[in-house]
């Protein structure tokens, strides 16, 4: 058994030196390569291990070909844009509502008492459980999917915002009041920036859950969209396309999270410099 790393914090010099740079990246690339090779081999040999079978799994090469085909057709554009516009609408609404409600609940006990009990009752219900009902309730399936995306993102954003607002250092608020800040100025100049890191965290989590909900909704009731594309490929037994769909979903989820992180870091520069300095 190797010796455990004595100091798990990033400060231990020898460890970072040992694993830094090219060697570490090589190891990482190698690990990825091995995974791909194993996949290719398993798919080509049509491995059947009883509990898991690779008989129907396409090898990476076929997947790549299917991906290129999709890239060249116009279908891709339609699927991607409809998924993106749904997330944009639903998630955007959730971000707006979550932050506003969170600020209200975090700052005002009255708002908390009135708004929180119904929300607390709804919270343990997974957003995806609403999908069949949403399909019934909304006249267009487009709206129902936006609603599901909204519900999926709302709670993480709301809860993180409340958490952030409630944890604003009361001394900061007190000194702002002493310096002559009124109600609105405290909200704008103190509470919002102080809660911003927590809000950004909530927005990031919400982005993940809203993609999760959207893909499920598209699989069940969509006509376009990347979730629909994947599920359709499955029902048509278009195996390479399934994997292409998965990769696309992953890329879009990853891309939107990365965008959000970038924007969050831009919005809260004091927070990230703080992390970097420690």
């Amino acid at each position: 058994m190797a010796r455990p790393r004595p100091l798990p914090s990033g400060r231990s010099v020898p460890d970072t030196a040992r694993f830094a740079g090219v060697g570490r990246w090589l190891l990482r690339a190698a690990s990825l390569g091995v995974c791909l090779l194993a996949w290719q081999a398993a798919a080509q040999l049509r491995l059947d291990l009883g509990i898991v079978t690779f008989r129907n799994v396409p090898p990476p090469v076929e997947v790549a070909q299917a991906g290129i085909e999709l890239l060249q057709s116009s279908k891709l554009f339609d699927h991607v844009t409809s998924s993106l516009s749904r997330v944009f609408a639903g998630y955007g609404l959730a971000a707006l509502a979550g932050v506003m409600l969170g600020l209200a609940v975090g700052r005002s006990r009255l708002a908390g008492d009135v708004l929180m009990p119904p929300l607390e009752i709804l919270r343990p219900i997974p957003a995806v459980a609403w999908i069949p009902l949403a399909v019934l309730m909304f006249p267009s399936s487009e709206l129902s999917m936006i609603f599901i995306t909204f519900t999926g993102a709302l709670f993480p954003i709301l809860l993180s915002t409340i958490h952030g607002v409630e944890n604003v250092d009361p001394r900061l608020v007190a000194s702002a009041r002493s310096l002559g800040a009124g109600w609105g100025a405290i909200l704008r100049e103190v509470v919002l920036p102080a809660a911003a890191p927590s809000i950004v965290t909530g927005l990031a989590i919400g982005m993940g859950t809203s993609w999760f909900c959207l893909v499920t909704a598209e699989m069940i009731s969509g006509q376009y969209g990347i979730g629909y594309y994947t599920w359709e490929s499955y029902t048509l037994q278009n195996y390479p396309d399934i994997v292409v769909g998965m990769v696309l979903i992953g890329l879009m989820g990853m891309g939107s999270s990365a965008l959000l992180r970038r924007a969050g870091a831009r919005l809260t520069p004091w927070h990230s410099t703080d992390e970097a300095r420690r």
Binding site: L172, A176, S178, L179, G180, E189, T273, D274, R277
Partner: protein, 283 residues
């Protein structure tokens, strides 16, 4: 003489505090207790007063009431004859650990008060830069609070309050978290600023040396519920040098304060606060 000092001199006759039979209650329901009991005192405009007492004696609570964050249960607390009813930039407060906004740089932190009064950006930045020079941090306007040492953070904190030309400067153990050397230099700096601005200062501390070195007058408070047990006039000449701490009259006055602050056997209030952290002679 800079513009800032001229304006400050206009305030010279303002900043008189009157406290008359002040009681302050803290906590709710069954846990409520009296933190400050029947406190009366007067501070003439421009005086430097230290409030000295053991931790948990209610001295910070009293300061909170002067700032307007806590309302007394009984009694009258007035500044220049007007009752204190809420926080106001006229009564600036400095805490032990800085309360600078981490998302604003030094200049914007200091300009916060002027911004709240609606002063245009160029003018409030000019005021901030002027006061930064006064506290000896001229080159640090663009830094964020995290990038400053503890002593510098406290200096910015003081500057952020001074830029509002307060009639009263309230300080709650402002140098308590600094190392000895920085602390002594900050004390000298504060006296230097006060000599020129002559704002009334109420300074809370539990450090006898600090109180005697800084103040015109020291109000000594008893352990909870806080009462003023003695009002000491500090006779040392100004300007004071750090060296007076080693001189015999200073030692005698310090001994007197120590005797006042030493918990008396039979009082159960202090042990209740920290049951086993009490000094050994109390047991």
């Amino acid at each position: 003489m800079s513009g800032h000092e001229r304006r400050a001199h206009g305030h010279a006759e303002q900043g008189r505090i009157d406290a008359e039979g002040v009681f302050i209650r803290l906590g709710q329901g069954a846990e409520a207790f009296e933190a400050v009991q029947d406190v009366s005192f007067t501070v003439p405009a421009g005086e430097f007063v230290c409030v000295l007492g053991p931790s948990g004696c209610g001295k910070s609570t009293l300061l909170g009431a002067l700032a307007g964050h806590i309302a007394p249960a009984h009694g009258a607390l007035t500044l220049d004859g007007a009752a204190i009813s809420g926080p106001h930039p006229d009564r600036g407060i400095v805490f032990q650990h800085h309360t600078l906004f981490p998302w604003k740089n030094v200049r914007d932190n200091i300009a916060f008060g002027p911004k709240m009064r609606g002063i245009p950006k160029a003018e409030r930045h000019r005021q901030a830069d002027e006061i930064l020079e006064l506290i000896g941090l001229g080159g640090f306007a663009g830094r964020y609070p995290k990038q400053l040492s503890g002593g510098m953070q406290q200096r910015v904190e003081i500057a952020r309050v001074l830029v509002n030309h307060p009639r009263l400067l309230l300080m709650d153990e402002p140098f308590g978290a600094l190392d000895a050397l920085t602390r002594m230099m900050m004390q000298e700096l504060l006296l230097d600023i006060w000599t020129r601005l002559r704002t009334t200062i109420v300074f809370i501390t539990h450090d006898i040396d600090e109180a005697l070195f800084l103040a015109d007058r020291v109000l000594v408070m008893s352990p909870r519920p806080g009462r003023i047990v003695e009002d000491i006039t500090v006779p040392f000449e100004r300007p004071r040098r750090a060296e007076i701490v080693a001189e015999p009259p200073f030692g005698r006055l310090k001994r007197h304060c120590l005797d006042l602050l030493r918990p008396r056997p039979g009082t159960d209030t202090l042990p209740r606060l920290s049951p086993l952290g009490a000094p050994p002679h109390a047991r």
